[in-house]
Each structure stands twice: as structure tokens, then as C-alpha cells.
């Protein structure tokens, strides 16, 4: 179906304005490529063979639990540590990796006191550099465990976390094992809801699919890594803001295996305000784009072709912002300046496009067991501005600092983050008026207005969340279920 759809674009008799056609053509090639990569990722197939079943009496390597802290509230860290202390495993040590001092956070000493109170290790870094990666590397030099397990400050593990994760390391080729991030607070507001719904798709069919290709990557938390594998690549990569993504690429290059355990084994918090969400997405976008442009997986030796495809697929996701922006601009150009990128009838295009779109959405629906929400899709689409910003900062070689995602809501109205989306909506209304004034409600004008309306509808959840307009967010279809969590 993708081939049939893209063949329509290769028919040069459809070319209207050549520049605009070229832009759209490029965009559609991108869409089809990412769709094919997605289908490749989620295609049905045999899951990787799990590690042989062994009892923990036979295999209990020493484990260092790293809880990375850089100014998070003490009560959140306390919760995580209390859960970590209750891990059901005979041979582990818990360490708080306290970066509060180098990050100039006020509570770094409280964190040290907390560690003392709870009788766990606390490694307070005094030499800055490398952000979270630097913090982890500093701890690697000071701990002895064979396996390191990394938790963010808010990610409280379930007691069975190690029991489920460690057996994979019985295979001497296992480099790391990743488990999902679950957001405890996903029902708090539309931002936490959308953030969780996006994670649900990623930690669901996508990572399960990558696992089949031995291409799961480290997601920064809830991960167990063999120390020798990590040291073999020089520790966590300190050059890239998405250090986890790049480090796992290096580990795979060395031929190590990775596994994904598709079970919620730790629970944390989603960003509760638009600014925190924005910063988190910007960091991930920038880091992934750096991998695509500076460490292109296609040219990395040691990776299999499946791994290359999967790493590229993950990186390309953050390039979609450019394409979305181009597509969104087209109706405005057509309505205001009567610039038509294609010369074929709109219905002729729809004949090819709608089945392709239907299959994409149906596949997404099926592989997520119907769990993909409109809200998560809308937030993903609306993140075009974040991805453009990340791309701009990359191309201009602007330095981006590692900003820890806030674990509690930052007060304030962040509607300014949605100004581009609001401006676009106003522009569409104006463009519609111009188009109707010029040629009445012709089929061309009607189609372009409808496309503009489509974009406005997709941007609305983002705008509503940024402005904290509950009267509007209540209209947006999202997850209804609430997962009940256990307390420590």
C-alpha cells in the first residue's frame, strides 16, 4: 500500500508548483519511510529467546543500585530509596548519586542526610561535567558491583525488579536489560496523561519490536547494565545530551545483547506542566537528532542492519517536525496565494492517500491493543515546534544543557509555548477568508480549509494544555482508566 501511495507522487503529471511539490514529495517519502520502519518494528514475529530459567541461588551477581539525584525534592527521593531498599534480592547496594552540589541545588546536603538516615551510600560529586552521564561515570569509578541498575530520582522500583531483570545476565553476552517507565501520576492532568500515553506506545509495541532486532536502547532509567559492557565503551557518553541513547548504540557496536522486559517494574512521575514537558521533549529531540547527524547509525560498524534500521527509525521520529510544518503551511499558501503544489484533482490524491492513512492508523490501533489515544497523537504532532527548535539548535551548534525534568508541577501559565500553534490557527482562518473571497467555496478552497481545520484540531490539545484550559481539555479524548499503585 505504501508503494502504491508513493507511486502517485512519482507521476510527474501531478506536479503543480515545482518547489512546493518537491517539498511535499520529500515529506511523503519521509512519511512512507518512517511508516515502513514502524511496520518493520512492530511486525509479528518470534520474540527473542529469554535467558534460561535459573534460580537466584545459582546466579546472584552483585548489583549497585544508582539513584540519580540533581535537586529533586527530598520526599520523592525518599520514596524511591525506600522502595529500592525493599528489593527482593540477596546481593545489592543502594547508592544515591547526588549531583546537587555541582548542579548548585540547595538541597544537596539534605540528600546526604537522607542517605545517612536510610543507611545507604551517597556519592556526592564535587567535580562538575557531563551532567547525568558524568554523575554515573563518577559512581562507576567508586562502586564494585558487577551489574549497575539506574533509577531516576522519582522511579520507585517494585520489590521484584531485580528478580525479573538479573536472570538475563546469566547469558554472558547480555549487555543491558531495559524495563518500561510508568507514570504514577498520569491521571493528574492532560499533560501527564498525554506523556504517559506516548510512553505507552513506545514502551509497548515499539520497544517489544526493537527487542526482536536486538535493538532496544537504554532509556535513562529502570535499566540494568553489565558494568564491563559499560566500561568497555568508556562509560556513559558525556558528549551527547541523550547519553543513554548513544551509549546503548556503542554497546551494541561491541556485539553485546540487549533485552527488554515488557513489565512495569518501577513507577515514577510524568512532567505535570507544559514547560517541563517541553524541556523533556526538547532534550530527547536534540539528543536523538545529534545521533542521526553526528553518529549516523547507518555508518556504524558492528551494528547489524536490523539494529541500524531501528536506531535510524528512533532518530528519524524527531525529524518529523519539519515535515509537519511543511504540510501545515501548504493550505495557507494555497488559500492566500493560490499556489497549488499538485495539479491533479484532490479526489485523485485522496484515492491513494486515504487507504494509506487508514492502514497506518489501523496498524497503530491494533499493535497497541486500541490503547493509542487521540491526545497522544495530537501531542506528538504538535511537538513540531519543539523538534524544529532542536534541529535549529543542532544546526547552529548551540550548546544545550541537561535539565532535569521537574517532578512536581511548576506554577504558571505556559500559553506562550503554544503561540506558534495559535498563530497558525489564526492564519488559517484568515487564509480561508482570502480564499473564499477570491474564488468562493470552490472544491480546492474547501479541501484546503479542511486540511487547515485538521491541523487546528490536532494542535488544540497542546494549546489547551499549555494554557491550562480545563474546559477545553475535558473535551479531548484520552485515557479513561486509572491504574492503582502500591505504596512502599
Amino acid at each position: 500500500m505504501a508503494a502504491i501511495y508513493i507511486s502517485w507522487w512519482f507521476n510527474l503529471s501531478h506536479v503543480g508548483d515545482p518547489v512546493l511539490y518537491g517539498l511535499l514529495f520529500f515529506g511523503e517519502i519521509f512519511h512512507v519511510a518512517t511508516a515502513v520502519l514502524f511496520w518493520y518494528t512492530i511486525k509479528p514475529g518470534k520474540q527473542k529467546e529469554f535467558a534460561p530459567a535459573i534460580t537466584l541461588k545459582e546466579f546472584t551477581p552483585s548489583v549497585d543500585i544508582y539513584i540519580t539525584v540533581a535537586g529533586e525534592p527530598v520526599d520523592i527521593v525518599r520514596r524511591t530509596v525506600l522502595h529500592a531498599n525493599k528489593l527482593d534480592y540477596p546481593n545489592f547496594k543502594v547508592h544515591i548519586l547526588n549531583d546537587g552540589y555541582v548542579a548548585k541545588k540547595d538541597n544537596w546536603q539534605e540528600i546526604e542526610q537522607l542517605a545517612k538516615e536510610l543507611n545507604i551510600g551517597c556519592i556526592t560529586r564535587k567535580t562538575p561535567g557531563g551532567a547525568k552521564a558524568g554523575n554515573l561515570n563518577n559512581a562507576l569509578r567508586q562502586t564494585e558491583g558487577e551489574i549497575v541498575v539506574i533509577f531516576d530520582a522519582d522511579m520507585a522500583p517494585h520489590p521484584e525488579f531485580l528478580q525479573k531483570m538479573i536472570p538475563y545476565f546469566a547469558d554472558p553476552k547480555t549487555g543491558f536489560v531495559q524495563s518500561p517507565q510508568y507514570y504514577n501520576n498520569h491521571h493528574t492532568n492532560s499533560i501527564t496523561g498525554a506523556a504517559w500515553e506516548q510512553q505507552e506506545v513506545f514502551f509497548g509495541p515499539i520497544l517489544r519490536g526493537k527487542d526482536k532486532s536486538n535493538a532496544v536502547f537504554i532509556c535513562g532509567t529502570n535499566v540494568a547494565i553489565r558494568k564491563t559492557a559499560l566500561l568497555g565503551v568508556g562509560g556513559m557518553c558525556e558528549d551527547n545530551i541523550a547519553e543513554d541513547f548513544l551509549t546503548s548504540l556503542f554497546i551494541h557496536q561491541k556485539g553485546w545483547k540487549s533485552f527488554y522486559v515488557p513489565e512495569v517494574l518501577a513507577e515514577g512521575f510524568a512532567p505535570e506542566d507544559m514547560l517541563s514537558y517541553y524541556k523533556q521533549q526538547l532534550r530527547w529531540a536534540r539528543g536523538s537528532l545529534e545521533v542521526v547527524f553526528s553518529h549516523n547509525p547507518l555508518f556504524k560498524r558492528g551494528l547489524t542492519w536490523k539494529q541500524k534500521a531501528e536506531y535510524l527509525s528512533s532518530g528519524l521520529y524527531y525529524c518529523s517536525g519539519v515535515i509537519i510544518a511543511i504540510d501545515a503551511l501548504m493550505p495557507i499558501l494555497a488559500l492566500v496565494f493560490d499556489l497549488q503544489p499538485v495539479s491533479a484533482t484532490t479526489i485523485d490524491f485522496a484515492f491513494y492517500f486515504l487507504p494509506f492513512l487508514f492502514l497506518n492508523l489501523y496498524t497503530l490501533h491494533k499493535v497497541t491493543n486500541g490503547n493509542v489515544t487521540f491526545r497522544s497523537t495530537a501531542f506528538s504532532m504538535s511537538s513540531w515546534i519543539i523538534q524544529l527548535q532542536a534541529l535549529k539548535s543542532l544546526l547552529l551548534k548551540q550548546k544545550m544543557t541537561f535539565a532535569v525534568t521537574s517532578k512536581s508541577a511548576i506554577e504558571g501559565n505556559f500559553i506562550s509555548l503554544a503561540y506558534p500553534h495559535i498563530l497558525y490557527s489564526i492564519a488559517i482562518i484568515g487564509a480561508a477568508a482570502v480564499g473564499i473571497n477570491r474564488e468562493g467555496l470552490s472544491p480546492s478552497v474547501a479541501t484546503n480549509i479542511t486540511w487547515g481545520l485538521f491541523n487546528i484540531i490536532m494542535f488544540t490539545p497542546f494549546i489547551a494544555a499549555a494554557g491550562n484550559w480545563r474546559w477545553l481539555t475535558n473535551w479531548i479524548p484520552g485515557a479513561k482508566q486509572k491504574r492503582v499503585l502500591g505504596d512502599a
Binding site: T346, L361, G370, T373, W475, K480
Partner: protein, 539 residues
């Protein structure tokens, strides 16, 4: 309380639909196809069978109509009432089908959309087989799903009866059976994957349904086979089929627009179709919902709603058969799928969309039934009234395309003779001759010496209407051009002025010749008018 209100609104929708239907029975002019049905139905049953064998349809409806008009008279109201009866009978069957597959809410919405659909309403009172076809298809779906649910134990009799009714209603019904077969086979294959067993094992597990279903469709096709043999013996069918153009992507979208919004003017339809990106929005809402609705066999409903349209579209590249009315069989299941989609959206969105759609359909139905601009409206009654008032026995009425002679004859009370271009004798179910400019000229040359004016009724362009118009405009004085409904026009041309003078001269020459020969005054016998061979038996 809320349920009672919903139920009251549901009944109101049905009542509104029935009122509009009954009102339409008498208020609209006879349509082309209706006049053909009314021309065929009074024949004897063997005569009907013989005629229909040359047509593109099946005989069941016309045989039923034959007996119906024998009981209730052959007026257009009585004839249309038979179609309305089938439409009305479809309502409880569709409700039952939707309720068994989903729930009461979806069932009520499905029926509401169905009865208010302008498209369905148009054909629910047309003297044609479409409402019978829809009734048979709906019943067949109901019993098919029961067969599937009970692995062939329940629904056998209902299935076979509805299948026989269906195969004798319309040839397209066979497509439905074929799709059901595909569905059953697909289920076997999917079961093998879901249960991780071999296909052979899955066939064994599904042996009962495979056997029962296979037997039932064999019986249905066996029942159809005598008809097929007969048609073949008659030399095949389709001799009188009008020209159907190969469909384009526009027609495909237009079909869905027709099904939901009915027949609107070209401009409105073009704008509705141009709003197709709304489908993209709808798909996003549909596939990203969270509220799951338990719906048995939604895959089946989608398959039987979409696949016939796609198959017909593709087949039309070999032989054009793509007409939206032939695909009316998908409307019940299409509205079911639409209802499921609407009900399973988030509450706030469905609370806006559902009432909006219902009100829109009701308004469009009323508009379609009353507006003169409705594209499918055929005002042959008005045409005939006009010609009756204007034309005299010295004039000739000519219908093109030839099959439009049916509705003209049915409604014409004038004194002028009626013929067709090309000249067609439809008695004996002869095929319509092909058009040629040479034959056109010969025919007109013959007519122009006999008649003073020609009343040319043009409708259903078969690809040569422009040729006729150009020829007449270039060779004769056009006195009038009048359009009665979209695509139906009358053009009046003058052949000659001097018919009276010519007649007198002829009389005198005849008289003088006779006088020369016998020395007596001869009495001229003038026979410039022959009785029309197409005198309608249905006045």
C-alpha cells in the same frame, strides 16, 4: 427517562421517514426505470421472464409487482407502495441485526440513519427492485451472523430463504455471498494463527460452519441456476442496458456521499466531496478512541460495506457496472459501522456529532424530495403535460435515449405520435440499435416530410445527444428549449411551414388525376397519421 426520550426520538425518526415516503408516492413524477417496470409487470409471467432475461436484472421483483398490481391496481401509487412495504419490513430486521451484533443504542442509531438517509428514502418508494434487494440482504446478514455465532446450528432456514430471495432480486447479491465465503475462509485462517495451530487443524475445528455454509450457498446458487441457463439460452442479457461510463475516483467518493447525504446538486456534491480531509480527522478519532464497544463481527460489517464497492469499481474497468443504486445493498451495514464508530467516540464528541448528523440527514431528505434541482429527479410528467398542451397531430414526439419512451408514454395524453432516436421497436425485447449520423439523417428526412414540428425529448445521454442537438440546430429552426429537471429537456424544431398548402396541393393534384382518368371528382383519402404502435397498455 433518558432511554424513554431516546426511544421516542427513534420512533419519531421512523414516523418522519414513513410520512415523507407516503407523501412522495404520489407527488413525484414517474421515473424512467419505474415506467419500464410498469410496462413489463402487466405482461404474463412467462412474458415477464422472457423480457427480463434480455435485461440486466432478475425477474422476482417484476413477478411480485405483476401480482401486486393485479390486486391493487397499476397506478404509480400502488406500484410504489410495494417498494415501501419492503422498506418498512427492512426496519425491524435491521434493528434486530444491529442489536444482535452490538447493543440497543447502536441498533436505534443504525435504523435512524437508515430510515432518514436521503439515498435510501429515494429508492424506498421507487417502483424497482432496490428495496426488495435491501430487505433480502439485511435478512441474509442477520441469519449469516447467527450461523457464524452458533457454528451453523441456528439460522439455516432463514439464511437459505433470504439467499434465494436475494439471488433472484439482483445479480450483485451474489457478490455478498462471495464475500461471506471469503469471511468464513478468513476466519479459518485467522483462527489457525490466533490459536497457533495448522490451517488443516483449523479447518477441522471449523468443519461444521464450513459444511453448513458451503451447503447453503450451494443450494442458493442451485436455485439460481435454472435462471442462468434460461438467460444463456436466450442469448444472454444486457441488450437494453443504458450506457454506463467507467467510473473514476470521483465516482467512488460520490457513491459514499450519495449513500450518506443523498443526491445533491453538482455544486453541493463537489463541495461535500472536497471536504474529504474530514475523513482523516474521523479516522484519527476512530482509531484513537479508548472507549471500546463490544461489537460482534465488526470486521464482517466493514468487509460487506466496503468490498462490494471496491470490487464493482475494479470490475467496471472491464465492464462498466458501477451505479450507486446497484450497491444499495451495503447501506444497512454501512450505517451500522457508522453508528458503531459514532457511539464509541468520546461522549462529548458523539453527543454533538450524532444529533447533527441525524438532523442533517432529515433536512437533506426533505430537500431532496422537494427540490426541483435534485439531480436524479426526472420530471417526465411535466414533460408530457407540456407536450400534450403544445403538440398537435401534425407534430411528432421523439425520445432519445430510446428507453425514455417508457415514462413519456406512461404520462402522455396528447395526439402526436411518439417515436425514438435511434428508432427502436422494443416489442419482443429487441436490443436498442446503435446510433449513427447516417441513420439519424435518414430518420429525420423521413419525418420532416410528414410532420410540421418535432418535440425532441432528450434525457440520459448515451454518448450521441450532442450529435443530435448539433444536427437539429444546424438544419432546422429551433422554436424552444426547455429544461424540466437536471438532464431532461425538450427542444422544439420546425420542419416546415407549408404543410397545409402542400396538403391542399396534393389534394388538388390527386383530384385532377382522378378526374382525368374517370371524369369524376375523386375523394382524397389522406392517411398522414398512423396509429402509434406503442400504445401503452397501462393507461
Amino acid at each position: 427517562m433518558k432511554n424513554k426520550i431516546l426511544f421516542a426520538l427513534f420512533i419519531l425518526a421512523i414516523a418522519l421517514s414513513c410520512i415523507v415516503n407516503v407523501y412522495t408516492l404520489n407527488k413525484q413524477s414517474i421515473r424512467l426505470d419505474e415506467s419500464q417496470s410498469l410496462w413489463v409487470a402487466p405482461k404474463t409471467v412467462p412474458g415477464i421472464i422472457s423480457y427480463i432475461a434480455k435485461d440486466v436484472h432478475l425477474p422476482l421483483y417484476h413477478i411480485l409487482l405483476h401480482f401486486w398490481i393485479a390486486l391493487f391496481g397499476n397506478t404509480i401509487i400502488a406500484a410504489r407502495a410495494l417498494s415501501f412495504v419492503f422498506f418498512f419490513l427492512t426496519i425491524p430486521i435491521l434493528y434486530k441485526l444491529a442489536k444482535e451484533a452490538s447493543d440497543k443504542k447502536v441498533a436505534m442509531l443504525t435504523v435512524t440513519l437508515f430510515v432518514l438517509s436521503p439515498f435510501v428514502m429515494w429508492y424506498s418508494n421507487e417502483t424497482r427492485m432496490y428495496s426488495l434487494f435491501t430487505f433480502a440482504t439485511t435478512a441474509n446478514h442477520l441469519y449469516f451472523l447467527r450461523l457464524m455465532k452458533t457454528k451453523g446450528k441456528k439460522g439455516r432456514v432463514g439464511y437459505i430463504l433470504s439467499a434465494i430471495l436475494g439471488v433472484y432480486s439482483h445479480y450483485f447479491f451474489n457478490m455478498m455471498i462471495g464475500i461471506q465465503g471469503l469471511f468464513v475462509l478468513g476466519k479459518v485462517f485467522l483462527d489457525s494463527r490466533k490459536q497457533n495451530i495448522s490451517v488443516t487443524k483449523s479447518i477441522t475445528n471449523n468443519a461444521s460452519i464450513l459444511t453448513v455454509f458451503g451447503s447453503l450457498i450451494f443450494i442458493a446458487w442451485l436455485a439460481l441456476s435454472p435462471w442462468l441457463f434460461y438467460v444463456n439460452a436466450q442469448g444472454g442479457s444486457g441488450n437494453m442496458q443504458p450506457l454506463i461510463e467507467a467510473p473514476t475516483s470521483y465516482n467512488l467518493f460520490a457513491t459514499f456521499v450519495n449513500f450518506i447525504f443523498g443526491f445533491q446538486s453538482q455544486q453541493i456534491q463537489a463541495v461535500i466531496i472536497a471536504l474529504w480531509p474530514i475523513t482523516a480527522i474521523f479516522l484519527f478519532f476512530l482509531f484513537t478512541k479508548r472507549q471500546s464497544l463490544v461489537t460482534a463481527s465488526i470486521g464482517y460489517f466493514i468487509l460487506v460495506s466496503i468490498l462490494p464497492i471496491i470490487v464493482t469499481f475494479l470490475a467496471s474497468y472491464f465492464r462498466p457496472i458501477f451505479l450507486s443504486r446497484y450497491l444499495i445493498m451495503v447501506t444497512p451495514t454501512l450505517f451500522f459501522v457508522l453508528s458503531v464508530a459514532l457511539v464509541s467516540m468520546s461522549k462529548k464528541i458523539s453527543q454533538i456529532l450524532i444529533p447533527t448528523l441525524i438532523v442533517l440527514l432529515a433536512v437533506l431528505s426533505l430537500y431532496q424530495n422537494s427540490s426541483a434541482q435534485t439531480p436524479v429527479r426526472e420530471d417526465f410528467t411535466q414533460v408530457s403535460q407540456y407536450i400534450s398542451q403544445q403538440a398537435t397531430e401534425r407534430d411528432i414526439v421523439v425520445a432519445s435515449a430510446p428507453f425514455t419512451v417508457y415514462p413519456i408514454e406512461y404520462t402522455y395524453n396528447g395526439r402526436a405520435r411518439i417515436t425514438t432516436i435511434p428508432e427502436w421497436t422494443r416489442y419482443g425485447a429487441r436490443p436498442i440499435p446503435p446510433f449513427s449520423e447516417e441513420e439519424l439523417q435518414k430518420q429525420i428526412d423521413k419525418l420532416k416530410i410528414q410532420y410540421e414540428k418535432i418535440y425532441l425529448v432528450l434525457a440520459y445521454d448515451q454518448g450521441y445527444q450532442k450529435d443530435i442537438e448539433d444536427y437539429m440546430d444546424n438544419n432546422f429552426e429551433r422554436l424552444e428549449k426547455k429544461e424540466f429537471s437536471p438532464g431532461l429537456q425538450v427542444r422544439v424544431y420546425r420542419f416546415r411551414y407549408d404543410l397545409d398548402k402542400l396538403f391542399k396541393e396534393w389534394q388538388e393534384s390527386e383530384a385532377s388525376e382522378s378526374a382525368t382518368m374517370s371524369g369524376t371528382k375523386a375523394t382524397p383519402v389522406i392517411n398522414t397519421r398512423t396509429a402509434s404502435p406503442s400504445a401503452s397498455p397501462i393507461r
